[in-house]
């Protein structure tokens, strides 16, 4: 703490004008940031703003196209993973990278086991590991199998691992995305402890409440560019959101409330194979936009997949327009009037190697087929042209391979594929993940427009701003259970987080 003023003159780490291009999208465009010793620097931005790419570059996982790195004021060449570690830069990924079949010590020393004559010096790893576990406040034996730990504990093991390589800069990518409130609190106190020891932390999060609580400084990215910095004194929720989306919040989310119509989708006592212990019941009406919120791993995607027939339901019933349907494949779900824009666009939503036209018609091509299964190419072309103009898809032509489109345009192709089927219920799983701000706004407007025309929309999102911004109602899930429902009037970040972390209103002590 005492030396922090001293080092402020030369920052520990300086990143200047980093640019990184991926096929079809400029992930980073001349992005700069500085990090001081013993500082918690929050990097925030919408999905696809470039936060993760920037962090991967710092940790040497990805190579930038251009830009400069300075450590302690000295210019260093662009790093690879090993060099980054040598400089004391450690990245804790959003998805933890531990081997569940190994114990804590083996994970901490994985790949750099201390050896004598080629034999692993087990004893030393256990002694050292124990020391680092203490540092992160984990009261566990280093002999414990990682597979037996909770996600929060695994995260602490990752941090212990970073400490064991004497990390001076710890980068945490959405560390609380799958933690309970209690585990998050534990993480925050470890972060404060590390900061006091002079470790610098780059903290990436969507949760603006956390950022407010932890950060000494905030760097905001928007569409791969610097959108501004905030000092400790000027950090506020509204200020952060405004910088992230580039305008006042009320303008960005086009919410208009509609009078909900009759029930379209009714789910009763549904048990999913992923969470067979809990029963889920809810109803979705015409003209309604309902958000599903929850932490990573809360069972939201699994619910969507059961509704769409990707996974079989364990028990319970699904009715569409008052008629119970038996969904055994996605084809049945489509027939019943459902459509799903899946979570992972590249793995589940698109055939990346195929053209816009072929992707757009993938669901409707069988409906429009001629005799002998001949593709109706004319209909396919017309449909694609119609969707390209209706959804404002930026593509040179309809034969463009979708791989080369930007994330936002790719997502619009997936949307177009399903709009061609005129679904009664549109299921969207993280509809704006990896989508630039402009396309995001268009997707929100589209959702509102579709709802106003009578479609029922159910969407999963990990982005609280988005949930708060456009939902008429929100369902909150926690560990496979539907823990609550909030009307638009009752919605707030706090209320959702309480339900999402499994706390009922009564048990919360303020």
């Amino acid at each position: 703490m005492s030396n922090s003023n001293l080092t402020h003159s030369t920052p520990l780490l300086e990143v200047q004008n980093i640019t990184k291009q991926f096929p079809g999208v400029k992930a980073l465009n001349r992005v700069s940031l500085t990090l001081n010793k013993g500082e918690v620097l929050a990097v925030i931005g919408e999905n696809g703003a470039g936060k993760s790419t920037l962090m991967k570059i710092l940790a040497g996982v990805q190579t930038p196209d251009s830009g400069t790195l300075l450590i302690n004021g000295n210019k260093v060449p662009i790093l690879n993973v090993e060099e980054a570690l040598n400089h004391g830069i450690a990245l804790i990924h959003q998805e933890l990278n531990l081997s569940e079949n190994l114990d804590i010590a083996a994970n901490i020393y994985l790949g750099r086991e201390p050896t004598t004559c080629g034999i692993i010096n087990q004893k030393q790893t256990y002694i050292e590991s124990e020391k680092h576990l203490k540092q992160v406040g984990l009261k566990l034996s280093p002999h414990t199998l990682v597979g037996n730990l909770t996600v929060g504990q695994q995260q602490m093991v990752e941090i212990a691992k970073a400490l064991s390589i004497k990390a001076r800069i710890l980068i945490m990518d959405e560390p609380t995305s799958s933690l309970s409130l209690h585990e998050s609190e534990a993480l925050f106190s470890v972060i404060r402890e590390l900061k006091a020891q002079g470790v610098s932390i780059i903290y990436i999060s969507h949760r603006l409440g956390e950022v407010n609580e932890l950060a000494d400084r905030v760097v905001v990215l928007r569409d791969g560019e610097n959108a501004g910095d905030l000092d400790r004194d000027s950090i506020s929720h509204d200020q952060m959101v405004q910088m992230m989306v580039g305008r006042a919040v009320s303008q960005f989310f086009p919410h208009t409330s509609h009078e909900p119509g009759e029930v379209v989708l009714e789910v009763k006592h549904l048990r999913t194979p992923a969470n067979p212990k809990h029963q889920i019941s809810f109803a979705l009406k015409r003209n309604e936009i309902v958000g599903i919120s929850g932490l990573v791993g809360a069972g939201r995607t699994e619910l969507m997949q059961v509704l769409f027939g990707i996974d079989a339901l364990r028990s319970g019933s699904i009715s569409v327009n008052g008629q119970q349907i038996h969904i055994q494949s996605s084809k049945d779900a489509i027939k019943a009037g459902l459509a799903l824009v899946p979570e992972d666009r590249k793995l589940q939503g698109l055939i990346l190697e195929m053209a816009v036209r072929e992707n757009m018609s993938l669901a409707s091509v069988s409906r429009d087929q001629g005799p002998l299964g001949i593709i109706n190419f004319l209909k396919e072309r017309n449909l694609t042209a119609e969707m390209i103009s209706a959804l404002n898809i930026k593509t040179p032509n309809d034969r463009q391979i979708v791989q080369f489109l930007s994330g936002g345009n790719q997502q619009k192709v997936v949307l177009g594929k399903w709009l061609a089927m005129h679904p009664a219920v549109l299921l969207l799983d993280e509809p704006t993940r990896g989508v630039d701000v402009g396309a995001k706004e268009e997707i929100y407007h589209l959702m509102v427009e579709l709802a106003s025309k009578g479609m029922a929309i159910l969407f999963v999102s990990s982005d609280l701003e988005e949930i708060l911004g456009i939902s008429d109602r929100v369902l909150v899930m926690h560990e496979g259970q539907l823990t609550g429902e909030l009307s638009r009037e009752d919605m707030s970040e706090e209320a959702i987080m309480q339900l999402a972390t499994g706390q009922t209103h009564k048990t919360v002590v303020t």
Binding site: P23, S330, Q348, I351, S366, Q369
Partner: protein, 330 residues
């Protein structure tokens, strides 16, 4: 067409080089031979192309050829089956084999490599067991049936050259195959599954059915090949017939632009690939290269073809990305 161009040029170059060194290469007799064999191998290559496009592989083709090729004369000559009955039975067997492969691969989620590798062992074993490893043949009978494989048709305007009948069979099958692959939803689904099975499933496609269908087509065409090969050589040794033919078929499909990762391929390319394989073997004899080197040369040529293809593809992707970057910047 662009994709086929590379291999077409390679085929022309090999033909040209051979023809320059040995004038007999373009003789009617040699051409008829090359075209007949290209057609027979072309048929089985078209079959495996379907499986490869779906993202799978079939190693059992040679053994299916052996089973069908041994059974046909065995049923006709030793057991007095009528021609339609024998053809119907071997046809049914080959379709059943494809169905069996497809079901194991989709419903039990076994790996195509393993399933068809077992098939490779099983079907030849069955053929050898049934026939007691004795050579099967039609003798001098079944002239009409054998016309399918050995027949030649006079062409107007071209003197001396007669078109082998198998070419017409292959041509017909190729046209049907190309139609299915490019004009029907089956072909569209097949390519979609080969590229990204999950996305196809999320689009409401019953992926299992399409994959099973591809194995049925493959085994059925292997069966057709088995019938024609048996009729062609008239002396079927269960121990030897069709050995390694699956590898020739796969090589032809890959040369013709089918990615082993699945999702792409063209029937025209596969036929040209099959032609290249045959012409290479023929050239080796024509050029007087010791036949012991045959496999080495074929291997090297395929490797060069695949490497060139990969480099060209990378270059194209890179160029596309930079073009896109420019567009974005504007």
């Amino acid at each position: 067409m662009k994709k086929v161009l590379g291999i077409l040029i390679l085929l022309i170059v090999v033909c040209f080089v051979t023809a320059v060194s040995n004038e007999n290469f373009f003789s009617a007799y040699n051409m008829q031979n090359v075209i007949r064999l290209t057609s027979l191998f072309g048929i089985i290559s078209i079959g495996v192309a379907f499986v490869i496009i779906s993202g799978g592989i079939d190693l059992s083709i040679g053994s299916v050829i052996c089973l069908v090729g041994s059974l046909l004369p065995y049923l006709l000559v030793e057991h007095g089956f009528s021609v339609p009955a024998a053809l119907l039975l071997v046809g049914t067997i080959s379709i059943a084999i494809g169905l069996f492969h497809g079901l194991l691969i989709t419903k039990l989620k076994l790996q195509p490599f393993v399933v068809t590798l077992c098939g490779l062992l099983i079907y030849r074993g069955i053929a050898r067991g049934i026939t007691q490893d004795e050579t099967q043949g039609f003798g001098t009978a079944y002239k009409g049936l054998r016309y399918l494989a050995t027949g030649k048709i006079d062409l107007p305007f071209i003197e001396g050259f007669k078109l082998p009948v198998p070419f017409l069979i292959m041509l017909g099958l190729a046209i049907v195959a190309a139609f299915f692959l490019n004009k029907t939803i089956f072909g569209r689904y097949l390519k979609a599954i080969g590229n990204n099975e999950a996305a196809a499933r999320y689009s409401g496609i019953k992926t299992d059915r399409v994959v099973i269908m591809s194995y049925v087509i493959c085994s059925f065409l292997a069966g057709v090949g088995g019938v024609l090969f048996a009729l062609d050589i008239n002396s079927v040794q269960p121990e030897g017939i069709g050995n390694f033919y699956e590898l020739y078929a796969i090589a032809a499909a890959v040369l013709g632009g089918c990615s082993i990762r699945g999702g792409e391929g063209s029937i025209l390319g596969v036929v040209i690939g099959a032609a290249l394989m045959r012409v290479l073997r023929n050239s080796i004899t024509m050029l007087g290269i010791p036949s012991q080197l045959e496999f080495a040369i074929i291997g090297v040529v395929i490797l060069i073809g695949v490497i060139t293809d990969e480099l060209v593809k990378r270059y194209a992707i890179q160029r596309r990305a930079t073009q896109q970057a420019k567009q974005n910047a504007e």
